[in-house]
Symmetry: C2
Subunit: 470 residues, 2 copies
Amino acid sequence: MPPRTPATVETKTKQIYSLLREQIFQGVYAAGVKLPSTRDLANEFGVSRALIVDVFEQLIAEGYLEGRQGSGSYVVDLGGTKRQFYSQLQDIDSSGEGTVAEPPARFQGIDFRPSFPALEHIPFKKWKETAIAAYTNTHSGDFGYDDDPAGNWQLRTNICQVLLHTKGIRCLPSQVIITAGATQAIAMLSRLLLKPGDAVAIEDPNATFIQHIFESTGADIIPVPVDEHGLRVDDLPTHRSPKCVFVTPSHQFPLGSILSIGRRIQLIDYARQTGCYIIEDDYDSEFRYAGMPVHALRELDSERIVYIGTFSKNLFPALRIGYMVVPHELLDPLLRLKKLIDMHCPILPQITLARFITERHLEHHIARMKRIYSKRRKCLIAGLSNIFGNRVKISGDAAGLHLVAEMAESFCGSQVVAQLEELHIKVYPAERYTIVKGRYENQLIMGFGNVGEINILEGIKAIASVLRQC
Amino acid sequence: MPPRTPATVETKTKQIYSLLREQIFQGVYAAGVKLPSTRDLANEFGVSRALIVDVFEQLIAEGYLEGRQGSGSYVVDLGGTKRQFYSQLQDIDSSGEGTVAEPPARFQGIDFRPSFPALEHIPFKKWKETAIAAYTNTHSGDFGYDDDPAGNWQLRTNICQVLLHTKGIRCLPSQVIITAGATQAIAMLSRLLLKPGDAVAIEDPNATFIQHIFESTGADIIPVPVDEHGLRVDDLPTHRSPKCVFVTPSHQFPLGSILSIGRRIQLIDYARQTGCYIIEDDYDSEFRYAGMPVHALRELDSERIVYIGTFSKNLFPALRIGYMVVPHELLDPLLRLKKLIDMHCPILPQITLARFITERHLEHHIARMKRIYSKRRKCLIAGLSNIFGNRVKISGDAAGLHLVAEMAESFCGSQVVAQLEELHIKVYPAERYTIVKGRYENQLIMGFGNVGEINILEGIKAIASVLRQC
């Protein structure tokens, strides 16, 4: 006889448990009926009495049976609907019908997605080494809950140093909250600052998902136009005070302009007068190809501006780490909210990132990527000029991972997108980012972050051939 | 002469940039004034003309200067308030005053926190090895954004298999959404299902933070009492339909009872009749010390129940990975919401966890921890019995990482907590988890997950000495 492994015993227990449960559900053992003794059932099934006792105890614990001292085990009355529940147990769940049974396929092709980094140049090896070194230095407390919803202290300290150095922002680690990407920061702020019927002023055009976040609060969106000096501050609403103004001052998304110092001063004056907050989203401005990175709006005011940064563009999106530098007045409400929505961000990735910054790997990675992006940008500009000549005007290219190609003639965006998609090429007409339609019908937003030079040229040719037909 | 490194060049550029900016802010160069030529400034500062050109371009890009073709660079009018902004730039930010400048200290002592795992037994080495192996098998797409807000497909597939095996739940990966811990799942559901003025029925007592999440939506909390068979379903409101009912059927938190099969059927009937959803939070029931893990409520219904699980108790809290199994009707709204609040969870930890499950490390870890927790539980029960004799009644101890110690006499919870805190011992009176006060004034919820056996005994002695004084 083969030795009984714990596994087969468990299976036997489970089998008999399931059988008795089935018989109770189906009324073979009706409500109030006394079950056979454990000894009799043990003989019947050819198992030990201890095993049957285990099954009975489970059924009692779960409320199928009721044990009466010295008398035996009785079936509990489960009510009239019990039979239909048993059929549910037996069925393969049908609620999943119509849903995908396969993981969604990844897009393979040339994708001019703006503001998306070069995935094949992710500093994967250095990140892995850093993770290993970081893990080795953890202590058991790093695996529990973080009592501080704002996140890892060292990472917040490092962020402060980087911000002072590159953005002119003076802040303390206690003013920094680590978030699940910039998305969570914007979602938290919109939840805190906006109620249904409130107003929020946002740049038009903008990154569409940000508009969706604001809309989900029930607030009214007030689009404010943008020109070559950024948000047209003069066009901010005067008849109605928005609760906040959303801007991308270092590199307007998607048009690429820098908010001029004159307008910065004007915007902060507006916020001080109306009592609204300014949400400054600084998503990619460390990649600046002419001169130094532009200073943050936040350097000019610490009370009315929430500064949002992210590691999605300068490191990698899958990390889901962003942060915000928060005015004193908003700190406690935001920390309370962070605790309510997910307690805090995962700890090990934060420790790894803190070390990655301390050891200057991030700095080196950004310098390296700036060279790579600079080449891609030049290649894209040269390619567009070669093929379109003076029928294309390029702008918004001084920083970041995308530029604006303004064509001599308007085109139908959805038609161009559809035709290029058949060629496995994704393009992004400026109109898809606008609220007020019809002002940018001849413009494409072209990301060059994640497109190699050969693909850039191939993509431009395909775009040219499709545009000719439209 | 020492070679000029790029770093010193950058510093020089930055210095001259800052100086000119200061002079513009202070009116040394007033609005409309033409700046000296780049050649003159290069001579004055003893730097190359190219460097001054860089500085001018930066100041033009940022809107301080305006370049006029063939004529030179002119100072832009920044308005009357510009001087006050310059003082902000010079100041060490004072908005951080009164905030902590040091990371918060971690609690050192004996902490009977319920539902908290043994941090010193985290399978740290295996986790690290798995992470390294998982990283090695990634491809560049794993570093981008996940187009699917529900999370990693392999992890969701593994979760389905585990749920079928241990909880009787039949579901497809497409019905599973990975969340930032159970907290995020509950926060998402409460945001989706509850509006101000709606009602939500929750067990009383409960994990207080869950109550806070529901309260933050503006919904009315309807407390429903709990007894030794779990939620008293008969006490659910009949005059007013709640939008959802929150339950912990496998191991009521904190009292430890199992929701009996009779009440399970009754509860689902209630949900079907009133059209409400049931939120089933299954936080620690794999650690069951008698018999098999209790099946999930979700096995009986797939349309009205959202099942929530977490890896915080069976692996470690810092991971921040939980999940929910979602009825068909809620799937799309929840996926849209997940995209709006943080896009998706971090990818690398999900890939690591998927591999950790595939390679059966999680299963082995749970089995190992069950032995460790079983010992701690016995030690706690024996210690309580030895010291309190028949003046203590223990319950809720068949599963999980905590039990209920019911004392013969009531005590003042806050006083006991304060006195023990002085001895560096943290205890948790049942009353801190209640909505309706005064029903559990003689009970302590005692977590044994993260307390070693020596500390358990030391802690009990201290509790006894403090209770004697109260």
